[in-house]
């Protein structure tokens, strides 16, 4: 139905742009990772694997990477623990208020990241709301230090950011569960708890997977929350990259780490896609 020139006209411009602004940059990044930097802060195009080898030899990199993965894992878990029940409540118990509650759930998503990170800074600081409240209520006598500038603060902040991200796809998949399946399950003798475990939960897994992937991948590569509330103990792998591209000025090494992050992320996406296909029953 569509002529060749039509198809060409719609295909070529986006493909060209994407090639120029996505593929070429990734390729450049790849190239950088194989280069080196001289003590005089100049980037030399001497192709070698030194950057990658360094990542294994210097124990700092794996340490920070694993810490980042632990933080990302904690965030994902917490975001699911918060997001799933919320989605379930809205989908099955909210009745007429569903729409309003849904909008309320996604509005935080649109409050800017910085805004929210900054708010947590205000809340968690020694001078902040949480400590003030705890002292006011005589639960503690002195301000608790570790609320802020710690991995705890990073996890808390990121959980806050990414809970709506897990909520959305889980809610969508729960809404897609045909209600007559639930009736059928009851009809066949399964009470509500069993119905949840055997029908609702399995059918909502694609949404759970999608939300978890998002939360994990984006938390892993996050550098803003550590900078805002992480302090020195909350540094994540992307912060190292930022420094390498900034003050430390070692672009090749930064590129190498970036590429590793990219590979990990693509790997995770690949795996979840496989898992989703295996269990998908559309």
């Amino acid at each position: 139905m569509y002529s060749r020139s039509y198809k060409a006209a719609v295909t070529i411009p986006p493909v060209l742009w994407v090639t120029a602004f996505l593929l070429v940059p990734y390729a450049l990044l790849l190239c950088y990772s194989f280069w080196s930097v001289t003590p005089a802060k100049e980037i030399v195009h001497s192709w070698n694997l030194k950057n990658y080898l360094d990542l294994f030899r210097n124990s700092m990199y794996p340490t920070v990477l694993f810490r980042s993965m632990r933080i990302a894992g904690a965030v994902t878990l917490l975001a699911l623990v918060l997001g799933y029940p919320l989605a379930y409540y809205l989908s099955f118990h909210a009745g007429g208020r569903k729409e309003l509650l849904y909008q309320l759930a996604i509005i935080p998503l649109w409050a800017s990241y910085l805004v929210r990170g900054y708010a947590w800074k205000t809340i968690l600081g020694t001078d902040g709301v949480l400590n003030g409240f705890l002292q006011y209520a005589h639960i503690t006598r002195y301000p608790v230090e570790f609320f802020l500038y710690s991995p705890f603060a990073v996890v808390l902040t990121l959980t806050h950011i990414y809970t709506p991200f897990t909520f959305l796809p889980i809610y969508a998949s729960l809404e897609h569960v045909p209600r007559n399946l639930i009736e059928a399950s009851h009809d066949l003798g399964a009470p509500p708890a069993k119905t949840f475990l055997r029908v609702i939960l399995p059918l909502s897994l694609p949404g759970v997977l999608a939300g978890a992937t998002f939360a994990f991948v984006l938390s892993l590569g996050d550098f803003l929350a550590p900078l805002l509330v992480g302090g020195s103990s909350g540094i994540m792998i992307s912060n190292i990259v930022v420094t390498l591209f900034g003050a430390a000025y070692d672009w090749p090494k930064g590129a190498a780490i970036s590429l590793c992050i990219l590979l990990i992320v693509v790997g995770i996406l690949f795996i979840t896609e496989r898992v989703e296909k295996r269990f998908s029953f559309r």
């Binding site: 059928a184 399950s185 009809d187 066949l188």
Partner: protein
């Protein structure tokens, strides 16, 4: 909250629906329905959309709560039980097969919920599948099955639990005509074989007549007439019943001195005098050949009419006959060949059924 005394359930009643009422918002969907279902019978609840037939089914299944009345099964009160505790299973209109479970697991679902031993499950699943002739699909995912196949699996999934009553919510409506006819025959013989009480909901009156031991005609939340198909067809009580099931001619008549007259048509009757509405089925009207027009018979009613329209229908033609005084009758005549102009028609006076209402469906 029923005020009228309820008859004690007899051995002839398995399911007893007593004065059941249900409303959604302002609309009264069911208005104090009472119906007794006998064990082993194939009962069809027939009605248009909006008549409340699906609601009634869902009340028995437990997916809706009734506003007043009671539902009893033998000597147990049913309406206060949640659906998963009722000895009732449903075949849903869209089959509602679990997409993430294989056919085997779908059918085993109810057995597992009832904590059937693992050893027993495969045998019963296979038996149920064989009953609906779907044995070879035992490991398939539902998405690979056609509509008709899914429907059989849905049937097996319900029957395997040996419910005391099986509810079927317009299960054949999504099938094409041929498949539908085939499934009707299979359903009927299956019910005979298994002996379980079937409560079948449909809007298709032909289907209802073909399948049922009894039909319950539901209209706007009220039972219009309940009885075997032959009885409802042959002796409709109201004009609605007469028109909904099969086709008919409604004849508003005056009865006087043993004669009923409707327009130019007169027939003998022994009914009370006064105004009355009669139902005359088109196939009861016969064409009188010229040679027979001279003789007559008191039990026959004759009239002349001009054929306005003749529609070929294979075995029978449908004629629209103008009898004068803006009275038009429909007649079904067996293959008369092309007719035209004025003809003489007749019918047995006993075929004109007096209805309980004055007409105006």
């Amino acid at each position: 909250m029923s005020s009228s005394p309820q008859p004690a359930p007899s051995a002839q009643t398995l399911l007893s629906i007593r004065s059941v009422a249900k409303r959604f918002g302002n609309r009264e969907i069911l208005k104090r329905i009472s119906l007794d279902v006998a064990p082993g019978e194939f009962l069809t609840i027939l009605g248009e959309s909006g008549s409340g037939k699906t609601t009634l089914l869902r009340l028995v299944a437990g997916f809706e709560q009734l506003d007043s009345g009671e539902i009893w099964m033998a000597d147990q009160r049913l309406d206060q039980q949640p659906p998963y505790r009722r000895p009732v299973n449903t075949v849903f209109q869209n089959y509602a097969l679990f997409p993430h479970l294989s056919v085997f697991e779908n059918i085993a679902y109810g057995l597992r919920a009832a904590k059937t031993t693992n050893g027993e499950i495969p045998a019963r699943v296979t038996q149920a599948l064989d009953m609906v002739k779907m044995g070879e699909f035992i490991a398939s995912p539902p998405s690979r099955l056609s509509g008709g196949q899914q429907q059989r699996v849905a049937l097996a999934r319900a029957l395997v639990n040996r419910p005391r009553v099986l509810l079927l919510d317009e299960p054949l409506s999504a099938l094409d005509a041929n498949l539908r006819r085939q499934m009707q025959i299979e359903l009927k013989s299956l019910q005979r074989e298994v002996g379980i009480t079937f409560i079948f909901v449909t809007h298709d009156q032909e289907e209802a007549m073909a399948l049922s031991d009894r039909i319950a005609l539901l209209r706007a939340g009220v039972l219009e007439q309940v009885g075997p198909p032959r009885e409802i067809y042959g002796r409709p009580k109201t004009s609605y019943a007469a028109q909904f099931i099969g086709q008919t001619n409604l004849l508003p008549a005056e009865v006087h001195d043993g004669l009923a007259s409707s327009g130019a048509i007169v027939w003998r009757t022994f009914e009370a005098a006064g105004k009355a509405m009669y139902s005359l089925r088109p196939e009861c009207i016969r064409l009188v050949p010229v040679l027979a027009q001279a003789s007559s018979d008191a039990s026959l009613a004759r009239f002349r009419g001009r054929i306005r329209n003749q529609t070929f229908g294979g075995a029978m033609d449908l004629l629209e006959v103008d009898c004068g005084d803006s009275q038009t009758l429909r007649a079904k005549i067996a293959a008369p060949g092309p007719l035209g102009g004025e003809q003489v028609f007749e019918f047995f006076a006993d075929d004109a059924i007096r209805l309980d209402d004055q007409g105006g469906a």
